[in-house]
C-alpha cells in the first residue's frame, strides 16, 4: 500500500539494509520521497514514517530541521547562491541579486512554470572559489554576476535534463577552490542531491 513506485520501494529496502536500525534511514528516505514527487509532501513524510516505523510527526520533526528537504513546490532547477562570509566578501550578494533579477524569482521562491527556484544559502564549502552557486547541489565556483545571468538564461532555454558540475563550471565558473581533476559524467535531475544509493545520479546518455 505504498504510494511509491516499485523501483523506489526497492531503493528504500536497499537503503534500510544499510543501517542497523530503521529510524536511521529517515534522511535518505526523505530524499527518495522528494525524488518521487519533486518535493517533500505530507504524503511523502507519512510514507517515510511507515518505512521507518515512527510517527509522521517524528518524520516532520526531522524533515523540518534540515534545509534540503523542500516542503514546498520546488522548481526543476534549484539555484542556491552562497552569501556567507567568504562569498559575501567577494560579491556573493551581487551574484544572488543578478540571479533574482535575471530570473524574476526572488530568493525563497519558485517561478510559475516550476522551472526555477532561487534561494540564498549559508556556506557550501567553496570558499576558495568564492562566490559559489549550486544548481541542484551541483557546484559552480568563481561565478560573477554576469556569468550568473548567463547561467539563468541557459537553464531556462536549454533546460538540461541533467545538470553536470564540470560542464557548468566550464560554462559559467571561474576560480576554483582546488584542481578538480578529470571531469565527471552524469549529474542531478532534480532539486535534491545526485547520489548513487538514492538512484538520483543520471548520465546524459541514459536520458
Amino acid at each position: 500500500m505504498s504510494i511509491w513506485s516499485e523501483a523506489t520501494q526497492q531503493r528504500a529496502r536497499d537503503i534500510l539494509s544499510r543501517y542497523p536500525e530503521k529510524r536511521s534511514a529517515v534522511m535518505p528516505l526523505l530524499y527518495l520521497a522528494m525524488a518521487e514527487e519533486g518535493h517533500l509532501t505530507n504524503e511523502g513524510m507519512a510514507e517515510v514514517a511507515n518505512w521507518c516505523e515512527i510517527t509522521p510527526a517524528q518524520v516532520q520533526a526531522v524533515a523540518s530541521f534540515y534545509t534540503m528537504y523542500k516542503r514546498e513546490r520546488t522548481g526543476k532547477y534549484l539555484v542556491s547562491c552562497c552569501t556567507s562570509i567568504s562569498c559575501m566578501l567577494l560579491g556573493g550578494d551581487d551574484v544572488l541579486h543578478a540571479v533574482e533579477d535575471e530570473s524574476g524569482v526572488p530568493h525563497g521562491e519558485t517561478d510559475q512554470e516550476g522551472v526555477l527556484s532561487v534561494e540564498h544559502v549559508e556556506c557550501i564549502g567553496a570558499c576558495g572559489g568564492a562566490p559559489a552557486v549550486q544548481v541542484n547541489y551541483e557546484l559552480i565556483e568563481g561565478v560573477t554576476p554576469e556569468k550568473a545571468r548567463e547561467l539563468v538564461q541557459w537553464l531556462k532555454k536549454a533546460k538540461p535534463e541533467v545538470v553536470n558540475t564540470d560542464e557548468m563550471q566550464q560554462l559559467f565558473g571561474g576560480t576554483r577552490s582546488f584542481d578538480w581533476g578529470i571531469a565527471e559524467q552524469g549529474g542531478a535531475v532534480g532539486p535534491y542531491p545526485a547520489f548513487q544509493p538514492l538512484g538520483t545520479v543520471e548520465s546524459e546518455a541514459e536520458v
Partner: protein, 459 residues
Amino acid sequence: MSTPLIVTKRMVDHPSDSHTLERYEETGGYVEAKRALGLTRDELVEEVKASGLLGRGGAAFSAGLKWSFLAPARPSYLVINGDESEPGTFKDRQLLERDPHQMIEGIIITAIANEVHHAFVYIRGEYPKPARRVQTAVDEAYANGYLGKGIFGSDYDLELTVHLGGGAYICGEETALINSLEGQRGEPRLKPPYFPAAKGLYMMPTIVNNVETVSNLPHILAMGSDDYASLSDNADTGTFMMSLSGHVNRPGNYELPHGITWRDLIYDIGGGITGDKELKAWIPGGASAPWFVPEEHLDLEISKDATAAAGSMLGSGAVIVMDEDTCMVRAAERVVRFFAHESCGQCTPCREGTTWLEMILRRIEEGQGRAVDLDLAVDVSDGISIGLGWPPKMTTICPLGPSAVSPIKALKDYFIDEVDRHVAEGGCWFPGAKKTLNTPVLVGSPTTRASRSAPRAES
C-alpha cells in the same frame, strides 16, 4: 617549507586521477590497512597516541587518546565526520573528492583499532560530488574485498555506509551528528552523560573522527609515529591543512608545516591581499574563532597553543581574510547570521540570543542603529558566553551559540569607531552598501523558508 606533503601528496602528484583505486594502489594504497589487521587494539592506539595526531575537526584533541577512551561495551561504531560546514572551510571536500581511498584506508585502520564492524561516513548533503566519489570508492573497496565480510581475506568484517546530511551545520558537532545518523533532529546531546566514547550511536561506544584525521592514519602507520611526530618541532605534529579564502590573491587549501606565522600564510602562501590593499582583519580558524588584526597578531606562530594564548583557535583550519574596504559591521552580521540560521533551537540562549544579535547588527548596518546597541549586543553576548572570555564560559549546551559572540567581541575590541560611525551617519559607507538603508528592518516573522535571515533584495 621543506616539510613533505602527507594527505595531499597524491592529488598534487596526480592531479587528474588521484581519486581512482588504480592510482591509489599504484601509489602504495591499502598496504597499511592490511598490516593493521595483524596489530592489536593496544598497539594501534599507542602508535596513534605517539604520533601526536590531533583531531582535525576543530577541537584539536589527541586522536589516540580519544580512541583509548572507548568504553568496553560492544558493538562499537565509527562515524567519520564529513559534515564540513564552517564558513571558510573546504579542506575535507578536497580530501573526500580527490582521495577517497586514503580516507577509507584510514577508516579501516580506525575500525580495527576500535573493534568496529560497522562504520559510517557522514557527508554534508551539499557535497553530492564528494559523496559520489566516496560511494564509488566504497563500492570498489567492497568489490575487492577490502570492505564487507572478511576484509583482505581475514575473518574481520567491516561494513561501511555513506550517509548524506540534510543541510545543517550543527551536525558537525559530534553528538548532533550521532542524533542525525539515528534519524533524529540534529540537536547536540548533553555531555555528560552522552560522551560518544561511552554512549554514542544507538547508545553504544562510538568513535567520531574527522575526514582529515583518519586520512593521516595510513601515513602514520607507514612512516611510524616517530617520523610523523618529528615532521614538526613544536607541540603540534605532522602537517596541517588550512583553507584560505577572502581577499587574498591565492585562495585555496594548503597542507602546511608547523612553525609558520600568519604573515607567512597570508602574504607568502596566499600571495598577499587582492589589489594590494591593506589587511584589516582575519578570522584564524573558521567562523567560530575570535578575529585577529594585523596590529596585534600578524607575526604570531600558527599553532594551537600560540593561537589559544592570543584568545582564539585554529578550529577547522579556515582563514578568512578581510581587506581595508570591508565593513566590519556587515562582516560581523554575516557571521552572526550564519550561527543564528544554524542554531538548532533547543537551548534558550543560542536560539534567542543569536537571532537577537543578528537583528541588532542588521539594524546598525542598515541605519537603524542606536548608541546603546553595541553595549546591548555585548550584554546579550555576555548572556551566551559569560564574560566573553576564551575558551568561552558557555550558558549553552554546545559551542555554537558562543561562536556567534566572536564577531561582537571583535567589534568591541577593535572596531568601536566603525560601529559608532554607522550609528551617527545612519548606516554604512563602505563599497557595496545596500540601497535599502534607512528602511525599517522587518524581523521577527518566522517562516519555513530559507529567506528568514536573507540579505534584502533591492526594492
